[in-house]
Amino acid sequence: MKEYNAMELMICVASRLLEDGSTVGVGTGAPCAAAMLAQKTHAPDLFILFEAGGLAPQLPMMPISVGDSRTFHRAIMATSMGDIMEACQRGMVDYTFLGGAQIDAYGNLNSTVVGPYEKPSVRFPGSGGANDFASFCWRTMVITNHDAKRFVEKVDFLTTPGYLTGPGAREEAGLPRDSGPYRVITDLGVMGFNTETKRMQVESIHPGVTFEMIQRNTGFEIRKAEHIGETDVPSEMELRILREEVDPLGYVINR
């Protein structure tokens, strides 16, 4: 079996979820690596958007910032944040990748504070464009490590909307119809969301991991999807491209 680390596995899994010809709003780090890997494997026509204005760049390397020069290197357009976010709000953007300090069963994310709002134990940067992307893009994906501190029953602060309180809640709040969390990719498995209950469920389990390990590292009750499988491991080609072309300096995969 090929050697790979958890980050490499997560990036490869994320990459495969991006269909050719689709649009994805990404940040730096793992999401960007996943998008670049997809372009170099099965999805050459994957259309990448960066929040600060980069539209379909030909990335010469991993950007350091969502607004640095790499994000619009040989792009089809170097535009404004408004233009990007409006494309998302208009329904032109299929996927986005987000992270957070906490996530709950409905895919709601916290990146604002841990602890009480008025006297937080940690202040994080805040929403940034995450609330916007998760409100506007059709399908939100999350790449994160899996532990019970992070996967919580209730987020301390609901920065970024998942399915909120459950079925119908997004629509009732005024959020775009049929949008919402789609996949949560962790070092233990791949989670989806039950179409009826809108609660997180396990779709596939990484090699060497058990369902019990996932439940133990999840702070809320999690169920299995109807068809649950073992996650496909990274192929040699994926690993080679990821290591040699996408992230040769190991910014992300060797962190």
Binding site: V66, G67, S80, M85, V122, P125, S127, D132
Partner: protein, 336 residues
Amino acid sequence: MNEPTSGTGPLFTNPSADEARAFYREKSRRLTDKIMSVKDAVTRFVNDGDYLASGGFGTNRISTAVMHEIVRQKKRNLMFAGHTTTHDFQILCAGNRNGEKLLSRVDSAYIVGLEARGLSPQARRVMQSGEVEICEWSNYAMAVRLRAAVMGLPYLPTRCLLGTDTFARSAAKMVECPFTHTRLAAVPALYPDVSAIHVHESDRFGNCRIHGITIADFDLARASKRLIITTERIISNDEIRNRPDATTIPAYCVDAVCEVRYGSYPGNMPGEYFSDERHLKEWLTVERDEQAYDAFLQKYIHGVASFEQYVELCGGKKRIEELRAEELLEKRGKGA
């Protein structure tokens, strides 16, 4: 679901379009020479208690020189627009030390962090201490607030914020679309008192060109009551008029034009120089140690007379040349 109809966060500025119009009515439209030093610009146009906004995107095309000068001049009780502000915000936080309070109110969409580089210990201290009043937003919500101001409206609707604590801790309100009867978040117009934007080229009147992404600066320039431009280069008005479709910011938005070569350093300036990751890391590291941090600020900000001296201390022309090679992809390295 019990949606609040109104966020409980504080609204720091007046969204009234008529109030803003009264200001704009008096603002000069003349093509006069606005060239001055950063020191003079900050002295004249940044007042204690002002609402300040910063152009660019945190470490990209930021007006570092103006941020330093604001700290150096010890401005007080500023309000600040925190829409993906990273290193710029980190600099301003240096004014909240030893009981002094440069920042007192922050509209927060993205602060404290420097993206993948990590969190700023000093920014966290400032934002967790309770000394700064905070209102929550998202980046786009802040952009829409500026757009409302540009349009001369008191508010605009948007579909972000909805259903979240970000909304609950914002100063947004729920409205219903009069046509579809669906819910939207109404965000109040934001007319900053003063902003600083770094550009590639400006003429002496303030007609500016930005190369590459414009982020939110087309709107920020127009929404701001006063605007300080720092520019890599001064070009002639003739050159501006030869290619009017290359202009991003027209002179009538601008109050001061300051020629500051390498003015986004240690941030990235598209086509000019990449970010100095080594120096940004130094900032993040030194903030952990209070004494070392004071010495650092003394060395780089308080102890220098101008931004040019700061660039010299950071390696000057030689360092910039390295960053230029990196920007132009002539050298691929880890930014060090």
